[in-house]
Every structure is written in structure tokens, then in C-alpha cells.
Symmetry: C2
Subunit: 420 residues, 2 copies
């Protein structure tokens, strides 16, 4: 008996699309090798997709699939019922265990679908303490993920809470159906051969990164409404996009979908001011209209129209939380941007617009970065932090120039589109 028999919900057509999304997740996302273990995390509302991925992973030769279901109701119960002393505890033993699994060769898959405003009504200090404790405990696993020690991917499932946020005017069933449609489309599972469609798309992203790597800009300058920001790029930076070869030699697509090309800024060479162009949904709180000013790489002023208290707490996480760990370019005409939807979910919204990330930089965005020591990475300008939070600064009104070492400017994007 498979999950099809046990879950009356969902038409045969929907089940087939789930199967195709699972195929994209396992083959394109993970590139799962026969004999590999798979460690999966998933919201309880994503059981049918988690089961479809489990089936597909076993068919691809997985030796064991372990799924950790996360329960937002239980997470909320802590804020509603636990005593004040509870919020500095995190399951370090679990993240150590996951890191041990990765060290022994396991692949990693996350199904995203969180309620974007789950913790919106909760005490900001408790939320920050809980997030900080978890971020700190998660370091052993995060380092292996960020360093591509193993092959990993993130895909999304249309959960009711998320769907209600994206489509507030619809009934829950209609909202979930519309969000699934958007996910299936963005994940290219509606193509005749989704895995082949991903191979072609990866080829286009590779061509774009090669071009940017050849140009070797010292910095990018973003200009638009509320924004004049110069982002110095790290020494020996490399642009990446689409598929990545992990340290274990397996080619994976860490995000499904992905439309971005991205690299590592220099942690001390960012200056100017920037305004966010889409809301940031951060662990249950919606942070809108972020406005920050950088001096010598460091945020020295930060405001937001909503969620400012949470933003301030985020910036206090550690020294690296005030500096950039990523800059990414996405044309305004990208399919996700073209959908016109605001997803309140980084995996989608970051693929609709150019963005920057506070916190931890990806070692792979430095030449030979996966083989460099921590000190060597920092010397090249790589930022280090417990956090990595993307937020959107691109739109149809943004111009971007590439600045050479001598200060001469070349158009990279005009009105949100590639200049060449």
C-alpha cells in the first residue's frame, strides 16, 4: 500500500504532479546516488509530498530515508505554555546527529512551507532567544550544508497557512490549489520532461555566471527608489547559479526553483543605503520596507515599517549579522516575478528579484573556497555569522552597474533586466 491509498485527498492528476515534483527533487535537486542515506525535514502539512519523495528516493537507490516532521502547532505551544527559562534551549544533539549523518555520506532535503507569520504575535525577545539558541546549535549542520560537504536541496509544499497568506481572498482549498499550481510551474514539473528542462535551464545559468566571472568586477552599484548601494565583491569571488558540484562529487541543485546568479560580497566593502522591495518573512514575523545604511561593510542604521524589533534583534545575533554574505542577480522578467505573486517565502521571492543576504557567506563563491581554511576565507572578505537571511532589493526600477578596480562603470542591468 502506498500513500495514494491512504490519503483520499488529492486527485490522480495532483498525485501525478507530486510524483513529478518528487522526481525533480531527487534527480535534479539532490542528484541522489545509489546507496546514499537521505535526511529530510518537512512540515506536517507536507506528508503526501514527503512520501512521494521517499518513494522516489528509494527507487533511485537510497539505503534509508529519515523524515523529521516539524509541527508549527507544537512550536507555537512553546510560546504559549512554556516558562520564561525555556527559550535558550535548542536540540543541539539533533543537529550534531544530522551533521554526523552528512559526514557519513547522507544527502539532505528540506521541504519548505512555513506559515510566514506563525510567531507574529509572540514576544520578540523570546522569539529572538529561541532563534539564537537554534542558530547556534545548528552550526555543525549548517557549516556542512553551506560548504556543500554533501549534496542537498530545498523544495516547497503548498501548506494551508502559507497558501492563506499568499491568497488571502480565496477559500483555503482554492488557495492551496493555486499555490500548488505556482509551485509546479516554477519547479518546471509541467514540462514534458522536467529533468531535461532543468538541465537546459542549468545550462543558461552557467553561461551567465561564466560571463560575470570573466568580467571580474570589483563592485556592483545598485540605484533605484530609496537605494544607492555599492557592494564590493570579495577577492577571488566566483559567480554561481543553478547546479553545484558538492564536495562528495555529486551535482545537485540546492534550490528548486532557482533563477538567480550570486556571489560573495566583501564584508568590509559595502557602503550606501538600500530599501527592500518585498517583505521579508523571518521565522514567523513579516518585516516590511527595510531601510538600512552601510559604512565600511557594516549596517550602521536600520529601520523597517513592520517587524523592526525583530530586525534589530536579528542584527544583534553576532558581528557578522550586520554584514553581507551574498549578493544575487535575478532579472525582473523571471518566471516567478512574472507570476506577479508575493510568496512571503525566500525560496520563491528571492528568485523574483535581485537580493542581498545578511550573515554567513557561501565558501563556494570564492575560487577554490571549499578547500580554503577559515582564516583564508575571512582574509578574502568572506563574512561569518550564525545567520543567512536573504532580502529583496530588486525591481523593474533598479539599475545596476559593474565597477572595475579603476572605478569605471559598465551597465549590468537596466530597469531590472540584463543589459547585455
Amino acid at each position: 500500500m502506498t500513500y495514494h491509498d491512504r490519503n483520499a485527498a488529492g486527485s490522480a492528476e495532483h498525485e501525478e504532479k507530486l510524483r513529478r515534483l518528487a522526481m525533480v527533487a531527487v534527480r535534479t535537486g539532490l542528484g541522489l546516488k545509489a546507496g546514499q542515506e537521505l535526511v529530510m525535514t518537512a512540515p506536517l502539512d507536507a506528508v503526501p509530498l514527503a512520501r512521494a519523495i521517499t518513494d522516489e528516493a528509494y527507487r533511485a537507490g537510497a539505503s534509508l530515508v529519515t523524515v523529521f516532521y516539524t509541527d508549527e502547532t507544537a512550536a507555537l505551544s512553546r510560546f504559549e505554555n512554556a516558562s520564561d527559562g525555556a527559550f535558550d534551549t535548542a536540540a543541539g544533539w539533533l543537529y550534531e546527529g544530522m551533521a554526523a549523518a552528512f559526514r557519513s555520506g547522507a544527502a539532505r532535503l528540506a521541504i519548505a512551507g512555513d506559515d510566514p507569520s506563525l510567531l507574529a504575535g509572540q514576544d520578540a525577545d523570546k522569539v529572538a532567544r529561541a532563534n539564537r539558541a537554534r542558530s547556534k546549535a545548528y552550526v555543525p549542520a549548517l557549516e556542512m550544508i553551506a560548504g556543500f560537504a554533501t549534496n542537498w536541496t530545498i523544495v516547497s509544499a503548498a501548506t494551508p497557512a502559507w497558501a492563506r497568506t499568499v491568497f488571502p481572498g480565496e477559500s483555503e482549498d482554492a488557495a492551496v490549489a493555486r499555490l500548488w499550481d505556482a509551485i509546479f510551474q516554477a519547479s518546471r514539473v509541467d514540462r514534458d520532461d522536467p529533468v531535461e528542462a532543468w538541465a537546459r535551464h542549468n545550462g543558461e545559468l552557467r553561461r551567465r555566471t561564466k560571463e560575470l566571472n570573466a568580467r571580474r568586477y570589483a563592485a556592483l552599484r545598485f540605484r533605484g527608489p530609496g537605494t544607492d548601494l555599492t557592494v564590493g565583491l570579495a577577492d577571488d569571488h566566483e559567480w554561481h547559479g543553478g547546479a553545484t558540484t558538492a564536495k562528495n562529487g555529486i551535482v545537485c541543485n540546492a534550490n528548486i526553483p532557482t533563477e538567480e546568479v550570486f556571489t560573495t560580497p566583501h564584508k568590509a566593502r559595502v557602503s550606501g543605503h538600500v530599501t527592500s522591495t518585498k517583505p521579508l518573512s523571518y521565522q514567523g514575523t513579516l518585516i516590511e520596507e527595510i531601510r538600512v545604511r552601510f559604512e565600511e561593510g557594516r549596517i550602521v542604521e536600520a529601520k523597517a515599517r513592520t517587524g523592526e524589533a525583530v530586525l534589530q534583534k536579528v542584527l544583534e545575533t553576532d558581528e557578522g549579522a550586520r554584514r553581507l554574505g551574498e549578493v544575487a542577480l535575478v532579472p525582473h522578467s523571471s518566471p516567478i516575478s512574472a507570476s506577479g505573486l508575493l510568496f512571503y517565502n525566500t525560496l520563491y521571492d528571492e528568485n523574483a528579484a535581485c537580493h542581498i543576504a545578511l550573515g554567513q557567506a557561501y565558501s563556494k563563491c570564492i575560487r577554490d573556497g571549499l578547500s580554503l581554511s577559515e582564516a583564508e576565507l575571512v582574509a578574502r572578505g568572506c563574512n561569518r555569522s550564525l545567520i543567512h537571511i536573504d532580502w529583496m532589493i530588486g525591481s523593474g526600477e533598479i539599475d545596476i552597474d559593474g565597477l572595475a578596480a579603476d572605478g569605471s562603470a559598465t551597465p549590468v542591468m537596466r530597469a531590472g533586466e540584463w543589459a547585455a
Copy 2:
């Protein structure tokens, strides 16, 4: 928002009983201390009970509750889709992580509710290999549980697959409702003050164990249809029942419900033959009418009417799998026996009848056993194995004598009831 709002299913009355069962689990079962972490495992079909326990644990001062949901559909997918090489892999990193959590002070709660015949149709060799790999990987955590390094408990939830097995003639909804009634009754949550009712019951079990400890029998002899078995007791054995004080000083009830008193047989002093009186449900296979013969503590002949292949594989797990690790006495008139139901679930059926267990012995059933070395425990006759599997040998037709060191016999039970 709590789970009440999110799950339309279940009346307010049912929710209240779940809350009371959660209270018994957290206060009587775990004796959870403020500031403790809690590690829970639960079937996906037990989400409402897991959430009620989470709420109750946070109210009792838990710092963090982590729930691992197990998915029988995913477990089955492995047998249906994985390649032959997959079945020797287990999530050792996860069990090491759980052991680390216990070492750092976490309590442990398991919600039982497995489908008794989930793997009945699967290849016995693959089932045995998967079980063996998991049992071996689980050792670090099992040793801490069996040795009561921390406070722990098991409670049950009425899952559809289990309910269908217990009440095959009923509709699924009716079967689930009847099984919940049986669970609530056996767990004493229908009493005015369930926690106080458990305190009284623990007092009665303590009186019975004190009496048996005073008598210091060298062996017990079981006689009845198909059975004439002499079970030598370990040197310095101690009888236990009801509440246990774990090594961390916390008083817990490891099984909810529990009606048994039990101790450790001597691994080399069991002889004669015995026939099971209830089916054994072992990790998805139903093993009925087990008949085995012991010589010098070791099973030298084993048959079963159904599931014999799985039984034989179990006995091949390791040397200790052929020897006894527990003997337990339960009067035939116990409330669970009086229900007249066959639960196909050890937690229930073992509390309806006298039973023995193959495999690992409980160190606490030796005087000062939790402080003794492994060698000292083995010297007293404690059995060691990767497994611990209870099966029922009691009924209304069984007589039990206590044998003193000089061979003189005293009646302990007659026709399944306490003789005095």
C-alpha cells in the same frame, strides 16, 4: 492557536480525555521536572495526542519538546521500492543523538500505536536484516533506557490500523473509538483524579514486589496446557512493578498502563517447555502459538503456527536472543485481561497475562544493578542481547510455584490468580 482549532475531528469530550491522558503521561509516566528537555516519538496518526502531551510538558516546565513522527507508509515504501542492498542500513547518527540528549538530561516518551501486521507480507530476510541493523544502531539509546539513565514512559494512541486489527468487525471510526475507550480506561484517565489513582495503584504493586522480594525464590515453575517451565531467577534478583526511580532521581512509570510485577531470570537456569497464550506482534509480523523448549537457559527448539520464519530470524539475532531477560506476573483478573480484548500490542497484552521476554535483561532487577559493571551483571545471570521481546505465557489455566533453594515449592498463583 492550539491543535483544537486546527483539527476539526474529535469531540470536546475526546479532547478532554486526550488532555487527561497527556497529564497522566507527563506527571505519572515521566514525572517531568521543570527545565527538562523531552524527546518524543509518535506515529503520524497520533498527532493530536502528541500535541496534547507537548502542551502538558511545556506547562510542566519542559525547556524543549522534540517529536519524531514515524510514518508506516514510508517504512513500507522501503520494502516496496528499495534495492536489496538497502536493508543493512540504520540511522545510527539519530540514535547516537538521542543517547546524547538523554546524557544531557532529556526525558523520553514514546507513543505506541503501530500497525501490528504492517510488514506481514514482506520478505522475512529483509525484515530481519532491517530490524537487526536498527537494533544494533539503537544500542546506545536502548542501554540508557533499559538502565533508567533518565526518566521515560510509553503510552498508546488508537491508530486506525491498530484499531482495525483489534476490532475487525467494526467500521474504522467505530474501531478507533472503541480502542480509545479501552486505552482511556486502562490508563485510568476515566477516574476523578487520574494522577491520584495511579499513586494508589503504584502503592499496591509496591506491596506485591516487597512480598516477593522477601520470599527470595530460586526459581518459578509454570504449569498449564503445553507448558511445564522452570525459570531460575538471577542471583540478587529484585522484583519491580509500577513506579521506578531513575538514575537522575526522578520517579517515573515506564509503562502506562502497567499491571505487572517482574524480575530477571538467570540466563543459564531455564529449562522445560512453554507455549504462548496470546499472539506476539513483532515489528509487523504476527507470531502465533509459539512453542519452545529450553535447556540450561537456552532455546534449543522453537516452533510457531504463524510467523515461524520471523521467530527463527529473531532467535538468530545474537546469542542472548535465545535466552530470557524478564519474567513477569500478572493476575488473570487484571483490568486489561478482564476487557477480554486481544490488543496485538505488547504494552497492553503483557498487562493481561504472565509473560517472559527473550533478550536483554533490566539491570535494575538486580540488587544495586544500576551501579554494577557489565561483568558483575553477567556474573549474576543477567542476559545481554540486542533485543527485548515479551510474549505471553499466562492464562486462567496456569499454576505457578515458587521454588526455594532447597527445591521446596510454595504456591504463587493458582488458575492465574495470586495464591495469597
